[in-house]
Amino acid sequence: MKKKTVKPSRVALYVVLLLLVVVYLLPAYLTLITALKDPSEISLPHSWDFPAVLNWKSFSEAFALLKPNIINSFILTICATAISIALGSINGYVFSKWKFKGSELIFTLLLFGMFIPYQVILIPLFQTLRAMNLYGGLPGLILAHVVYGLPITSLIFRNFYMQIPDSLVESATLDGAGFFSIYTQVIFPLSIPGFVVTSIWQSTQIWNEFLWGITLTRHSANPITVGLAQLAGGQAVSWNLPMAGSILAALPVLFIYIVMGRYFIRGLLAGSVKG
């Protein structure tokens, strides 16, 4: 391989990219240093200065304030994700391997539920949960996330299972396997990546959700987003707490994103690029 000389266009490429990196990371930098400042050190004209003394207490204070919300969000995210990926997997199995007349139409009608502004179902949802005695607590919120998660989870699993050759299913049928045994013996063992993608997608969505959190739960069941909005919304609070709270609320999803980025992107693309 011959040695390449550095072309000016290559240099320009890196300069522009690094500038963009700075722009994208500046908000994160400001958040971190503000969280680490002592409240007395926070002032608007000097908001970008590095803290003189690192004040780690903001994190424990913010955690103490947000602890009930964080616990709620963990329960909510784990339960709702588990149920919706189980349903999504079985739906995706039917939509990809057991197509029947009209199944594509049903699938398209199902997908529609993913694209509606949720305001349009909020009032009946609120009323229904009240009538079912589920308003105010976590079970109602879990139900909402499971139901409205059906389109996206079914979509991801369907597209994933489309890649599994039909011949595998056919040979299992010839061996006498039925609907459920094909699923448990052929499809499910091949599903791990599908489950990873879907559960990452669902759990970040559910963790980050706010509209239902604020309209469908009472104070004791508020998820982290609502807790953070209340912490940051108060006028008197000094800025180190909301910033530390933002970091706490972002950590679980950022962790997932950084460790499992590849799967996160697959979930991201699944909603828009059709297989």
Partner: protein
């Protein structure tokens, strides 16, 4: 003809709970909200066991558009439209630009991608909280220039009271006809460029409507009895910026996936024919991934039409300057207990979103049918 096997029935039965749930919670609920929007449900007894609801037809909708006291909602609607347009331009422009940079295979591409996409994993509440601090009037972004010795900015990103590109809501009807005429002419010109034989029809329709509005526009009924200006509130720029920061990584990922799907052979061939990098993207790569642009438009317009969390966190739910119908719906319904009116706002949002989504779903359904 095949007999229906036991397994096929099982498959259908397995799907049944999901079909029922979505049938009720999506389609049934949309119908229910529509019905609610035609009533006068609201007020003191709204949350009682059997609240009083009387059918009032389209009164709520009419009031939102021409009612004396609903100018706040009308500004919210105008905000949402400007917000959608700027978000589309910004997020698609920036995302496409970064995707092109990364498509030229810099070293550490994975690192760059991770940095540009991380905002996408955050909650809007987190983004909103951070950006509220970042755009504080005399701090954050505004004092950045002082670090290189320049004067600080003093733009009020979230609290400016200025409004530009104003129009008078009184003339909304002639305004709407003008927009229709321009859209028809643009489509006509676009078809003309593609040498379609339908171009003339669109052009003629657009020009005729344009001339009619120009000549007789004054005879159209006024929407209001007095002047009411609405425009682009500069206080929403902060919200637009934060959303672009969060979503440009998403469009970048979409475009990058599209570019990666284009074969290297095609690119090499274009380069051999003497195409510059710019021309390669302009004439080959971007047209090839047009479906991705369409997906991005659908997703982003859906997001901007339901935007609630970010504005809530950045300026609070009841800031008139940065209002949005989604916030207005929340306040109207859950603070003022005016359920019928909240339902009407929600239906309008739904209708706007459906304009984009229904054609998209129908075309993707047809594509599937053709392939099957």
């Amino acid at each position: 003809m095949r007999t229906v096997s036991k397994d096929r029935i099982l498959a259908g039965v397995t799907l049944l709970p999901s079909i029922l749930l979505v049938g009720i919670f999506v389609y049934g609920f949309i119908g229910n909200t529509f019905w609610t929007s035609l009533t006068d449900w609201g007020g003191v007894g709204a949350l009682s066991e059997n609240p009083e609801k009387n059918y009032v037809g389209f009164y709520n909708y009419k009031d939102l558009f021409v009612g004396f006291l609903s100018s706040g909602f009308r500004q919210d609607l105008v905000n949402a439209i400007f917000y959608s347009v700027f978000l589309l331009i910004g997020a698609i422009g920036v995302g496409l630009f970064i995707a092109i940079l990364l498509d030229n295979k810099p070293k550490a591409e994975g690192f760059f991608r991770t940095v540009f996409l991380y905002p996408m994993s955050l909650s809007f509440i987190v983004t909103g909280t951070i950006w509220r601090w970042l755009l504080a009037p005399s701090g954050g972004v505004n004092v950045l220039p002082t670090y290189v010795g320049a004067e600080p900015f003093n733009f009020r990103w979230l609290s400016s009271t200025q409004s530009i590109l104003q129009f008078d809501w009184q003339n909304i009807l002639s305004f709407a006809f003008n927009v229709i005429s321009i859209v028809l002419i643009v489509i006509g010109l676009w078809l003309l460029g593609k040498r379609s034989k339908h171009a003339a029809k669109w052009l003629v329709a657009g020009i005729v409507i344009g001339i009619l509005v120009y000549l007789f526009g004054d005879m159209l009924p006024k929407a209001l009895i007095m002047e009411e200006k609405h425009g682009f509130n500069l206080a929403t720029t902060g919200i637009i910026l934060a959303t672009i920061w969060q979503y440009s990584g998403y469009t970048m990922a979409l475009y990058l996936a599209g570019f990666t799907g284009i074969s290297q052979d095609l690119r090499d061939a274009a380069m051999l024919d003497g195409a510059s990098t710019f021309n390669y993207y302009r004439h080959i790569a971007i047209p090839l991934i047009q479906p991705i642009t369409i997906s991005a438009i659908i997703i982003l317009s859906h997001i901007s039409l339901k935007m609630f969390d970010l504005i809530f966190a950045m300026t609070g739910p009841d800031n008139g300057q940065t209002g949005h119908p989604a916030l207005n719906m929340y306040l109207t319904t859950f603070r003022a207990n005016d359920f019928a009116r909240g339902a009407a706002i929600a239906m309008l949002l739904f209708f706007l979103a459906a304009l984009f989504i229904i054609p998209y779903l129908i075309s993707s359904y047809r594509n599937k049918d053709e392939r099957a």
